[in-house]
């Protein structure tokens, strides 16, 4: 079975641009979460989605948004990119929102120049 897949793996953007990151969860998993990992730190929670509804939001500005599609895949959008948005963005999937165990993808490395 395929694990959590994220695309693209690497991305370079210019300040002020917009970016869309994509995630496909493990087959049968209905919950997707997004995390930002800045170099040298632990991942920070951005969003959780379950059955296409937002179920949790971390302390991130409104420039960050996400959605989940009927097939349970998800997109993370970031507008007006700042240098500080450079990070590894990780997607995690779990069976449902009440299930504690989460499986992570390889991440998307975003560099803002």
């Amino acid at each position: 079975d395929a694990g959590v897949t994220q695309s693209p793996t690497h991305l370079i953007k210019t300040r002020g641009q917009h970016v869309t990151l994509r995630c496909s969860p493990i087959s049968g998993h209905k919950s997707v979460s997004w995390y930002q990992q800045v170099l040298g730190q632990g991942p920070q929670f951005i969003f959780q989605y379950y059955e296409k509804e937002e179920r949790g939001r971390g302390n991130f500005p409104d420039r960050f948004s996400a959605r989940q599609f009927p097939n349970y895949s998800s997109e993370l959008n970031v507008n007006a990119l700042l240098l500080g948005d450079s990070a590894l963005y990780l997607c995690a999937s779990s069976l449902e929102v009440r299930v504690a165990e989460a499986f992570f993808g390889q991440g998307t490395r975003l560099t803002v120049v």
Partner: protein
């Protein structure tokens, strides 16, 4: 609210010697606790999990952790380190379903970098 403190940012051991990575947690509700490992330029791999069953939890690759509620600790151990264990390790807490409100958020510690010398 929940938080995690990993007591060591770096741990260095020799191959074949025991590994101890320390973690203390804080949670308002009954927690689930996890250890994840991250190899360079890779995603996160789940090593083991505690979800209110047995307090001594065995994971993959010979790792285990003990949940001690009185000490609010969840330290990760391995009897004998291998070169392939060199990586960054994250202790993670998640509150279980409580009072009709779901807590999907995982809270990560700052990470412990494990170095293994030949």
């Amino acid at each position: 609210a929940q938080s995690v403190t990993q007591l060591d940012s770096h741990v260095s051991v020799s191959e074949g010697t025991p590994v101890l990575l320390r973690c203390n947690y804080s949670s308002s509700y009954s927690p689930s606790l996890f250890w994840y490992v991250q190899h360079p330029n890779k995603g996160l791999q789940l090593l083991l999990k505690y979800t209110s069953a047995a307090t001594l939890v065995k994971g993959i690759n010979g790792f285990e952790a003990e949940f001690k509620k009185s000490e609010t600790s969840f330290h990760l151990t391995k009897p004998s380190a291998h070169m392939s264990d060199a990586a960054e390790y994250f202790c993670v807490v998640r509150a279980l379903w409580a009072g009709g409100t779901s807590y999907g958020k995982l809270t990560f510690g700052q990470g412990t970098i494990l170095t293994v010398h030949p």
